[in-house]
Symmetry: C2
Subunit: 221 residues, 2 copies
């Protein structure tokens, strides 16, 4: 089975006065994105890696790769103005069929085991996403008010989200809709069922300095 | 305005062969629960502190207080077999009226600023809870399937949840219902409106070793 991983690193902000996008921050002395690519390579060195980067970040990334002697082979695809467009652009760079993982560039702590489990499950069911139970109470906002909902009826969704390439291509052939909250929702809108698999608490999304602090500690332990 | 804080530390497990409950684990060299009580004391030394503890943990807690020379005054109330019962028992120990904060014992990283902000907001509106936006995609489980929901329509709920004592007493005078997911939902079921306030990402609930690792780092920084 051919496997591919689309690593989406869309966060902008290399222009003057903005913070460095999270995917380039140093984690254990190396940019976050290098960790992310390395885990997919560690899970299976045969997996084709496609990194989706905004045009404005390409040169910076190439400099980083030279500076850190990062030699894991990968293709660079152009980021779009939305995540939907970025995934579509990345998909266009994949030749042939197989299983495609779509993964957030800012989730470097994913384990090779979870990646392999997702590919294996998707090989059977066609579409799989890792989920965790929700830890805090949830409320739904409604107009000016809000109401408590039962958190045990919800799950929190991570990546990698893995799909049969034919399904993912058909899904991303659709028009964009505001209802698309992640890749699974795009695939479902195209009529394909998505199955769930147990995720990992450690597979955090790095969006704040606190997340980076935690990732540093997870790396050490 | 009189203020009180009900610190709920219901987690069981002091019997042989079980893990030490999270509220007793060491954080920066001191049991988690001492941090939690200390923050409320730091926010306002006049706040009456009521610690709700399972009967089986009382002696252990008293030993810990002696060992760590923990001298912040607090009342100990009996934990019940459910969280609902624990809060009700704690409430019964509060004399007089004022504002009552209900807080998870395993949220030691709450800031004095958030505690004060919650009391101030509740002084105006009668009931307030701190919330954060939801970071990961959400799905709702339905029978054998699940469906994507828009996470921007949801918020994640923390503690302290602060209420006028009259409202909280009336709320906990109700019969228990499975629909009670937190104190706010109990108060709402009694017919009182609950308002929201911005929470803090750092105000984590310590439920896994990873959370403790993060709390240790937050303490250092």
């Amino acid at each position: 089975m051919n496997t591919f991983a689309l690593i989406v690193a869309g966060g902008k902000g290399l222009r003057m006065g903005r913070d460095l996008p999270k995917q380039f921050l140093l984690l254990g002395g190396r940019p976050v994105l290098m960790h992310t690519l390395s885990v997919f390579h560690a899970a299976d060195a045969e997996t084709g890696l496609i990194l989706v980067l905004p045009e404005e970040h390409k040169n910076y990334w190439k400099q980083l790769c030279a500076e850190y002697q990062f030699d894991i082979p990968h293709i660079i695809a152009d980021g779009g103005s939305t995540r939907f467009e970025s995934v579509r652009n990345g998909l266009a760079r994949i030749e042939g069929e197989g299983l495609i993982a779509v993964h957030d560039g800012v989730r470097p702590m994913v384990s090779p085991e979870l990646i392999r489990a997702c590919f294996q499950a998707a090989d059977k069911s066609g579409a799989v996403i890792p989920v965790n139970s929700v830890v805090e109470s949830l409320r739904k906002l409604e107009n000016q008010t809000s109401q408590a909902v039962d958190r045990s009826e919800y799950v929190s969704v991570q990546t990698p989200q893995v799909f049969r390439s034919e399904w993912l291509r058909a899904a991303y052939g659709q028009e964009f809709s505001d209802l698309f909250t992640d890749d699974a929702s795009v695939v479902e809108a195209a009529g394909y069922p998505v199955s769930l698999i147990q995720g990992e608490r450690e597979n955090i999304k790095i969006t704040t300095p606190m997340d980076l602090l935690l990732a540093e500690q997870l790396l050490k332990h």
